[in-house]
């Protein structure tokens, strides 16, 4: 299929195409904008998770969360300043006082609890204040503790309260030294969503580069000259695809370096690169297929836009589905590879295999389609 004498052809073509891509000022500009976007995303995530907790954000922002208490209730939590208020409407107190939350506690609640009566507290939250979530969590924790205490008192007259309230007794240990930790919400957001997104941006861009490459030749009428060269159609496509995948991987490496620079560790570097490269082959193949049906770059771009939209929905939309198919999702694997120093379970090789097969199939199919459409035109 690939004749030995024709291989220098692929190499030469690849080199030429690579030069074309790198010299294209627009791609460089697009890369620059992507850079700013990536930096912006990371920074916003960091900032957002910082400002929503006064404890975490303490380095950046001096803030403490003020919570009003109506009634006899002790609230002691880190970053919270409790303010006693006279009894009244909690919502009104909220709007007047610049408070993140106001808790209303009915009088004599302890007696009511011991009698076995119903207890209802009212928590008014200023949800236009980003710190109110923190206040909510702190107050809820305090209420849970109080609730437990009351239940304990009630039960103590008849049974061992722990047997009913805390049946499971947990002993916690830690091993290993604690490094400078990133906030939990940030870690989950970053590795769960943002890192796969950032690493997939170059892959999406590469589909566009492939269609530009093929359809661009069609438009500039250099396509016929290219076909006349002593290379098979398939070799031409491979020659075009190699530099595109190479450029994509360079971008991915750049983003990983950017993340590491900010102290966000990305694990399994090589496995990750292989995974993304295989995925990229699939997307490049789809780009070839789209090129087959596009006469102009405008059509090609429309096709790529639809592809990217569908892919984004498939990869990132919060559809509730458990189980097997999701475990093979490449985005899922990217998240796992990037966030776990070592990987248990053997789905890695299977995913590689599946992607490899899929990639080759799509590229082949794309080349066939390209052929078929040309024969139709001629």
């Amino acid at each position: 299929m690939i004749r030995k004498s024709a291989r220098p052809g692929i190499r030469a073509l690849s080199r030429k195409e690579f030069g074309d891509i790198v010299r294209e000022r627009l791609y460089l500009f697009a890369f620059g904008v992507q850079l700013i976007m990536v930096v912006g995303i990371i920074y916003t995530a960091l900032l957002y998770t910082s400002i929503s907790s006064p404890v975490v954000g303490g380095d950046f922002i001096q803030s403490s969360v003020r919570v009003g208490i109506m009634g006899d209730f002790e609230l002691r939590a880190e970053g919270i300043v409790a303010q006693k208020l006279p009894a009244g409407d909690p919502m009104e107190a909220l709007t007047e006082g610049g408070l993140a939350a106001v808790l209303f506690v009915p009088p004599d609640y302890e007696e009511t609890a011991l009698r076995g009566g119903d207890l209802r507290f009212v928590l008014a939250l200023d949800n236009t204040n980003v710190l109110s979530g923190y206040a909510d969590a702190a107050v809820s924790n305090a209420i849970t503790e109080l609730s437990e205490e009351l239940k304990r008192k009630r039960l103590a007259r008849e049974v061992d309260p722990d047997a009913v309230l805390r049946p499971i007794n947990v002993a916690e240990y830690g091993i290993g030294a604690k490094k400078q930790p990133l906030p939990m919400e940030f870690t989950e957001l970053m590795y769960g969503l943002l890192i796969p997104f950032i690493l997939l941006l170059p892959v999406f861009l590469s589909t566009n580069m492939m269609t530009d490459s093929i359809v661009g030749e069609k438009e500039k009428k250099t396509y016929e000259a290219l076909i006349a060269a002593p290379m098979s159609k398939f070799e031409i496509i491979v020659g075009k695809a190699i530099p595109i995948v190479a450029v994509t991987m360079l971008q991915v490496i750049a983003w990983i370096i950017l993340l590491e620079l900010r102290g966000i560790e990305v694990y399994n570097f090589f496995s990750l690169l292989i995974m993304i490269a295989l995925l990229d082959v699939v997307f490049v193949g789809l780009g070839i297929a789209i090129s087959a049906f596009s006469d102009t770059i405008k059509d090609a771009n429309a096709g790529v836009a639809v592809l990217i939209l569908v892919a984004s929905l498939a990869f990132f939309a919060p559809i509730a589905s458990r189980g097997y198919p999701y475990a093979y999702s490449p985005v899922f694997m990217i998240s796992k590879l990037a966030s776990n120093p070592s990987l248990l379970g053997n789905l890695l090789l299977e995913t590689y295999g599946a992607l490899l097969v899929l990639g080759i199939a799509v590229v082949f199919l794309g080349a066939r389609l390209l052929d078929w459409r040309e024969n139709l035109r001629l």
Binding site: L26, F29, A30, I36, G40, I42, T44, Y109, A113, R120, F121, V122, L123, A124, L125, N127, T128, V130, I143, L155, V159, D162, R166, P167, I168, N169, V170, A171, E172, Y173, G174, I175, G176, K178, P181, M184, T187, E188, L193, G216, I297, K298, N301, V306, L309, F316, A317, P318, I319, S329, V331, F332, S335, S339, N340, P341, S342, L343, L344, G345
Partner: protein, 564 residues
């Protein structure tokens, strides 16, 4: 050929393109399918939005030495964040290598059927990035199992406890009731505005094809040969495309209505949306007109829409989590509030409409002016600076014989052009610096220096344009004068901006801040820009720029020290 005829021809051309119609129908169907799914997903009060990849995020090991731990194991399995791996003995190696972030050990003595306390040991790898998440998720599952076991035991022991019920009330309605249906305000105020902006994002290919596509296919020459004014050609295309976008928005609003999603203040929302689309389409036109190839135009428009989208998301996020009064001026936020049924102050609505309209008129004028140039249509494309120079020469020619006015006009244009450019560059460089160096002294000082450089280079931008055409900046005094005027123009516009911002966040401080700024930075701008002006005239631009930058930076640094 009248404007009407041109617009009609353009419209028909687009509609006859099967691919456009196909694309439109596809999007429409997508909308009809996806939006209701999201609507029902978000219709509860408190929702979490997990990405699918957050499922099974934390790998943990479970060592179960007892056979009677069904409730606990079930609780662990049900926790979506956990991925469980079962081991026969304590998996020290996996824990150290980082394959798992924690281990839950259930000793043989654990028996859920007994009524004793049940021991469980949890070991967390503190050095793992997922350590905190593991601790949190495991604690939740254990609490869950505890409460289930507790209920069981209460039934056996025949005792009862009551929970404290917490009734939550939110200042800003989290759930909106309208016409009998309940929606999360997040859905109506956040997702719906995003959905409504889709037509504009998908229209870029239309704009590109209409302007640059014709240029590349050479069909534009035929069009120009027709008896129509060039400005009419541009306007005709604009009317056709904008008309289609507006129809698309109407179709989407109708579709949402049919789905039973009740958007309040429908006409007010539509009007503001139409104004935003007007401004965006006009901007797209300018960019497309200036582009040489379809590829260039596509990328430029893609970048424009990405920037708009980011701005849209950011301002809506701020609206929901930390609203400030000045956000009223962002049309996106106004659209969001109106859609929710909240009110927006009449002045801010009017200002948005007027500002967007004025901007659109200016952008369309620019687009027509560009199309009027033969070098834009046939090539070679002029440099931006060259365009600026032409513009300056034009102004001066019109004000021939009134050099003071001419100079003032040039200086004014300088400020107007410099402000958005310097803002964009400052934001980009600021973000990069903060990212690489973190929020600290070094970053702040670097930002002061770089911002000073950016501003000083850009303030006299119109003067470079003039100097390139060898105009009258020969005399050092005149040059200094015009430099200073450029600086003055920049200062005035910058402060106008600040005043507007202050007007709606801290109105009481306006007078004080304005006096402070006038008293100090005015003098600074006059001096530094004057210096740069002299530098331009002398041809020894770099040294003078360095001097001006140093003065500007030194000034800001001194202020910073004093402030601290």
């Amino acid at each position: 050929m009248s404007l009407y005829a041109i617009a009609k021809k353009e419209l028909l051309e687009i509609l006859y393109d099967r691919k456009y119609v196909l694309g439109f129908t596809l999007q429409f169907l997508l909308l009809l399918a996806v939006v209701p799914a999201f609507s029902s997903y978000l219709s509860e009060e408190g929702f979490r939005l997990p990405a699918p990849t957050m499922r099974n995020f934390v790998p943990i090991g479970v060592v179960d030495h007892s056979e009677k731990s069904d409730v606990l194991i079930a609780a662990l399995r049900e926790n979506e964040r956990l991925e469980l791996f079962f081991f026969d003995s304590f998996p020290t190696r996996e824990l150290e290598e980082g394959g798992i972030a924690a281990v839950v050990e259930i000793p043989p003595a654990y028996d859920e059927r007994a009524l004793l306390r049940l021991p469980v040991a949890v070991t967390i790898a503190s050095s793992s990035i997922k350590g905190d998440s593991a601790k949190d998720a495991i604690e939740r599952s254990i609490a869950d199992a505890s409460s289930r076991l507790g209920e069981r035991r209460k039934a056996i022991l025949q005792v009862d406890t009551k929970e404290i019920v917490v009734e939550r009330r939110f200042l800003r309605p989290v759930v909106v009731e309208r016409e009998g249906s309940r929606y999360s305000s997040f859905f109506l105020g956040y997702l719906i505005p995003i959905v409504l902006f889709f037509p504009i994002f998908t229209s870029s290919s239309l704009v590109v094809d209409a302007l640059v596509g014709e240029k590349e296919r050479k069909t534009i020459e035929m069009l120009l040969a027709a008896p129509a004014r060039r400005s009419d050609i541009v306007s005709g295309k604009f009317i056709a495309i904008y008309g289609l976008i507006t129809l698309q928005v109407l179709a989407w609003l109708a579709a949402l209505r049919l789905e039973g999603i009740a958007i309040a203040n429908l006409w007010a929302v539509f009007l503001l949306l139409a104004a935003v689309n007007l401004a965006l389409t006009a901007t797209a036109f300018v960019l497309a007109t200036f582009s040489r190839t379809v590829k260039e135009a596509s990328i430029a428009l893609m970048l424009l829409y990405v920037a708009v989208f980011v701005f849209l998301i950011t301002s809506l996020t701020m609206e929901f989590f930390n609203p400030q009064r000045f956000l009223e001026f962002s049309p996106f936020n106004s659209i969001s509030r109106l859609a929710l049924g909240e009110t927006v102050s009449a002045p801010s609505y009017a200002i948005s409409l007027v500002a967007l309209g004025a901007y659109s008129v200016i952008a369309m004028w620019a687009s027509s002016a560009l199309m009027g140039r033969d070098d834009i249509i046939f090539g070679p494309r002029p440099e931006l600076m060259s365009l600026l120079s032409d513009g300056m020469e034009d102004i001066l020619a019109r004000l021939h014989g009134r050099p003071i006015l001419g100079g003032a006009a040039v200086a004014f244009v300088s400020g107007v052009v410099a402000i958005p450019l310097s803002l964009a560059l400052e934001i980009a460089s600021g973000v990069l610096l903060l990212y690489v160096f973190g929020y600290g002294e070094f970053a702040i000082i670097a930002m002061i220096l770089i911002f000073a450089l950016i501003e000083e280079s850009l303030k006299p931008i119109a003067l470079y344009a003039l100097q390139a055409r060898r105009h009258w900046l020969g005399d050092a005094r005149t040059a200094a004068l015009f430099g200073s005027m450029a600086g003055l123009s920049f200062f005035i516009l910058e402060n106008a901006f600040v005043v507007l911002l202050l007007l709606f966040s801290f109105p009481s401080l306006i007078f004080r801040i304005l006096t402070l700024r006038t008293g100090s930075t005015l003098l600074l701008h006059l001096i530094t820009s004057g210096i740069v002006g002299v530098g331009i005239s002398r041809g020894r631009f770099h040294y003078f720029l360095a001097l001006a930058t140093s003065i500007h930076a030194a000034y800001n640094l001194t202020l910073l020290m004093a402030f601290l």
